[in-house]
Symmetry: D2
Subunit: 462 residues, 4 copies
């Protein structure tokens, strides 16, 4: 018999943790957990305690004897871990508020994953994930790292390629949502269809086949602009051109709207910002109310309210992935892992998001093959943007950060983009030790966001 | 409900057919067949009739109502087929006798798959498989072509890449045998282990992992020189160097003995030839006695004697593959299919033999990733040899045939190799219309094998 | 002795032709021309006659006996040609006016080479260049095609890769201008420096070394924002970020301003348009006045006024290239030719603009080697854009045209971009037979530019 | 004015040095040398002194004031060097005798560059060249390293790729000889023809064009089996198949005989060995007599006798290359340098032997483009063999050495090849510190060559 499992969750104080706990409870019979360690930092202590108590109540309401331990001491938690999940957010939602407000005020997208915001999230996260990997090399050298900290693909590439921790898988809920919702539209069960995905995190396409080996992608394209399709609820549904999609013969992910309808997505984002501030600010309110609910000492299951956030199914996917590894299941999932040739137009050592077989060996990608020039060109520039972002995050080199900003299709390059880069650097000073020299110089030049919300956050030590 | 299946077997008069029939009987409940058409040519009519009657008796001994039809009219058979299997041998075993005797008499390997013999088998087969594909395009445009005519990888490459029939899968029993025998050696069940294969037909390697994700390839290497391992019985077991295999961290297939122990394999082959003639001649005797057994009107199952031939499990693998497609199973099998990046050091449109997921969509390769220079260099030259062979088979160009002979590691290049090439061309004149011009020229120069067995075969119209 | 040369210039009525004539006169001693055929179409007859007379007067003022023949009969001209130069403009400047006005009125770049305008220029030109190549295959199968019709790289790719005319070289004046102007800035002679260029037409970078093998690129970067550098006069000099350029260690071409300073370039372009209409309209005036000058029966040399147009040095580069081929010179020039590995991150059969050795064999690229992710990602998307453009031009498929528009970094994708695409299709109906079906459909939907200038041009049959 | 040049020649006691000196004398006017340092080791002191005195006499007979300094102190010599040439032979000709005798006695090729001997030469040389590069990094960080120690391509790859000394060029006389001799056959001057080479050292092909851009390769193929062609005198002229060469459209180098006529080359080599011992033994005699000539105090120029050795024109090529760098000449030469895409089927960071432009920047390869499967497959396995050889030389891993032996087309793999490997390891113990562990083990097993010549050499401390 295999030994019971020790799970460690970095960023355990996240409002998503109850979904993760629920996922483990559902799968206890196939995957007997002994301990769940929830790790967070000083700033997140209060939330961590609330989550820790709720998580323990959830387990106590089951027949299973599982201990939930909360700690601020990461090293202690990691010792002997079997699976480490990462869902932390450096600088919390306050950092995301800056990521989104500063570009928006300059009339650009503050998009938090692939846009300016996402690149800064990577700049802040990569130094921390490096420390985590270094700890793991010493304290739990056989553990798997299941990452769902965004930008998930970039972080996974840093971990596998740069910090050389091969046992890492990146997760995302976007493919999960597509595979849950699309079949309904054509009155099918997910189990009747074959899905094949390929691309990068938040930038992938898929093809769908029915049980008679017929390619029904074209049929699904016809429905793509309907409500309730595969696009996550947090993305504005600018209309896709069906002629464009048919010429590819592929279904895009929801995030492709930012690339195929740049203009509308930007206009809508600016409009929303003017009406109600950034999505991060809305999230902060949602989170506050979630934590009020979590505090209820009678609550012993995941509350319905959590489902409504954008990140639903993320954690369940993580539990499924962990179980597939533990039980050597050989099931098909879409995850971020090393390319190894699955997408021949990208380097074999790049991290890609593709349909994989998940077993005790980890994720084995299923090949996608050659792409047409349209998908290929976009994919290659997005991977290049990811590489520039990682290079900048590792080196702290300003020119390289500028490369990432210039090459990113969601940033309109030029003087204003540089201004945004500069203001973001200064605004995130606390979390960007690698850029210290440049930030000092920028501050001397008087660079600073004039946005009252940002000014206020910084006054309060963020 | 899906409609019942029509199977067509080209080369239906083969002595292997009873295994195929047995495989379909075993799987009838999951794969209801209505008709099996066995197709052969005039020269094979007698055998075809014997096989046809045995096959019908085998079905009649089951509760299932399946009709076996024998015919010399390929077009009639192909009409509306769902699956077409190819196991024909152009020129029958007599052609193989020439393939093996002519090189052997010049002190070279007559190896019938990757050696001189295999290249000539390809020269003879490619024009015929082209005709079959052309028929299929008209008569059964949705059918799958399951090829196990050797050289299986080369024929599959011709079909998919040159004749553009994408629904083709090539099969081989070598991986099957390895996965059946190796686990026993270390007291494991096949189901407890994860196998990953990559390479070309008769030229692949594999890695093995246990259920705890541990790479146990090294452990299996230690046993590789023992009897009863994964090497097919028809290959002489020259000793592998364990140091060489450990430096790769991979298990070779049995055919690698020809490449890692060239000298012993050649010496043994010549010795065997001197003692007992070629393997083809032995096979001819085995076949004759098998057909005597098949004639027995009371025989209604696959006779034990068949199992002892080299090609066991081939046909069962074919049935399993067909069922996996028909039932959209998503199981793991090792087949020849389009690379699409699974082995990044070969072109995405090359045919490779790799671990795949087999479902209604066909074969989806699982990536293997980068290779070390040793495996990579050998694989690249073998693929180049396959390409030269196909180019020569298609063009009938002598210089290109010479390229194939020169680059093939199992042929020692030079004047004598050219002599072998020339004699084989003349000896196979009947089946090589594409080389007509060159053969006429060679005959004028007086080129002809002086071997009495070859002379005799040719006198008799072969 | 080599036989005297027959030159054919398609689009011979161009205002640039006098520079070409001057270039041939300068080089007569090394390259004895017998005849120059200037070919044009009915619409350009008047200009052709003016140019033809001027060209003949230019030769008559030299000691050389060279005949200038003007004709509307392309086939007659091509017969036995040694070198064919192409500098035609399908639809003349009126077409360019539409290319630039329609996007500008929607607030987008009408950039005539890599932007929306450039893609439409390719849509119009590719069917015509195909006819020219087909004529050449019959009438002058050994001739060289020296293309300077824009978008030069795309047209050259169509000719070499799709129409399989290998003896084609694409030319551009941008590298010539850089190599003429940059050395002066640092008080050097061009001959003292080693230049290496790589990229695509209007999208390349270069490195510069001095005679002591020292890389002085960084030194030149420091001067890049000064007036009089390597940027063609027709491009607005938005400021480059020196930090960005230093992080690459490369000098960009002037057109990179559109990619590194998207926002300023767009704003400036719209502003200019509001002030003075499009550049095409200005060009039309310049041309009219040039032709007035050309009419002067006493003029027998290239007038000074021509030098001031954007395209200076183009024709001289063409003459130099022709002489290098004719005289097997082995000199170094920057041209568009087949990659063949010079830029490993692009396909070997792509057309690229790189430093080459020009000799009787044509252009042999000098390798550039691997690129960093920033340059690589941009180059790959630009090449993909070129490929989508060619695919759309060849197929007339609307979805593919939309791919080209969506992937082009100078077009902001979405509903408005589709509107621009649609209006341009309708506006250019006369020159886009391959898109006939879609244009008919668009017209039924009432798509049409409402711009009075465009409306007027169309009324007059353009 | 540039400063005068300091040349350092490692292995200065070589019998080839007078050609090098002659080359520098011829070019003094364009390349003013101040000092030539000849470096050797204790074992070569006597020869070094003889060469040093001859070299000084050669300079003294010219109007130029150049000082020749001989030394056993490499570090002292390297200080401030401008160009370092390497032509040393670890273990001298005695080592080569072992390299050739041991395989020959087992009936295999002792070929000293690409065969078993060449791999051992690499095993011995790579540790030493590593030390030289380390010294250079400290003592002459701007110097160029011009290598002509064999196997020249492998050594150059070790220097550039593994020891990261980019300013290194590898030289060989094989292309020089081809370009000198071939034109005569067709009554042309070298200067009238365009040559393009690509491949690896001792494994390359070339195409030839005349001054009218006509490919005359086929015409030269017709003459390839005649005496006095491009093959170095030390290679047995087994007949090439013209049909094979025409199918490629390429001229092979002389060493290709080993690959296209394996059998004859092996038989001839064994026969020669039986008649007259190894080529190394013959060379040793030639050398002894050369040094007798060199001792003559009246000799002050390169003696005719040197020309007759196999390595002629090597040193002159080195001088020409040095001058091209020093004078920023931009001339065309065939050298070993980093691929960078010139041969797309090999990695951009591999070292290849190709036509290059040589200037102050070093060697810039001219692209070759895609290859057919025949050339491609062979080239890829040869590069893989080189990589395995370097990996074994660096690691001292026996399994990896076995990889190199197994993959090498000139070694027939198997038990006997392993015996050769083992005997060579033991025989070269003195020069293979990296294999110490394995050699000790082999000696314990009693492995030793029984050849009296080898036994004798070892007794004498070699």
């Amino acid at each position: 018999m295999k030994k019971p499992i020790k799970i460690v969750t970095i960023g355990g104080g996240s409002s998503y943790t109850p979904e993760l706990i629920e996922g483990f409870i559902k799968r206890y019979d196939e995957m007997p957990i002994s301990e769940i360690w929830l790790v967070d930092i000083e700033d997140g202590k209060e939330k961590l305690d609330i989550i820790g108590r709720l998580a323990q109540r959830m387990w106590d309401a089951t027949p299973y004897d599982v201990k939930v331990i909360t700690t601020l001491n990461r090293k202690e938690a990691l010792k002997g871990a079997d699976f480490v999940t990462t869902q932390f957010r450096v600088g919390l939602l306050d950092a995301r508020i800056k990521d989104e407000r500063i570009p928006s005020l300059h009339g650009m997208l503050g998009q938090e994953t692939n846009g300016a915001g996402g690149m800064f999230k990577a700049f802040r996260t990569i130094p921390i994930i490096k420390e985590i990997v270094e700890d793991m090399k010493v304290l739990c050298p056989n553990a798997w790292l299941i990452n769902f900290t965004n930008p998930s693909g970039i972080i996974t590439e840093a971990v596998i390629k740069h910090f050389e921790w091969k046992k890492c898988i990146g997760l995302c809920n976007v493919p999960v949502i597509a595979m849950m919702n699309e079949p309904k539209i054509i009155k099918k069960q997910t189990s009747e269809l074959n899905y094949q995905f390929a691309g990068l995190n938040h930038f992938h396409w898929h093809k769908v086949f029915d049980e008679n080996e017929k390619d029904i992608t074209g049929q699904l394209i016809e429905h793509i602009n309907e409500k309730g399709g595969g696009t996550p609820v947090n993305i504005y549904q600018a209309e896709f051109s069906l002629e464009l999609l048919h010429s590819m013969g592929l279904l895009p992910c929801g995030y492709h709207r930012y690339y195929y309808s740049e203009k509308e997505m930007l206009e809508h984002s600016i409009e929303e910002f003017k009406k109600g501030g950034t999505r991060a600010e809305q999230m902060k309110e949602v989170e506050a109310s979630l934590f009020e609910i979590y505090k209820n000492p009678n609550l012993n299951k995941k509350p319905e309210e959590l489902q409504k956030r954008g990140g639903a199914y993320y954690s369940d996917a993580a539990c499924e992935c962990i179980s597939a590894i533990y039980n050597n299941k050989g099931i098909r999932m879409v995850v971020s892992t090393q390319n190894n040739g699955a997408i021949p137009c990208l380097s074999p050592d790049s991290i890609v998001e593709v349909s994989c077989i998940i077993s005790a060996k980890g994720a084995e990608p299923i090949v996608w093959g050659n792409m047409g020039p349209f998908e290929k060109g976009q994919l290659q520039i997005m991977k290049a943007m990811e590489e520039c972002t990682i290079n900048a995050a590792l080196s702290g080199d300003y020119g390289t950060a500028l490369q990432a900003f210039t090459i990113n299709p969601l940033v309109q390059s030029g003087r204003e983009a540089r201004q945004i880069l500069d203001e973001l650097l200064v605004a995130h000073e606390k979390y960007l030790p690698q850029f210290k020299g440049k930030i000092t110089e920028l501050k001397k030049q008087g660079i600073a966001s004039k946005d009252p919300v940002v000014v206020d956050l910084m006054k309060n030590g963020h």
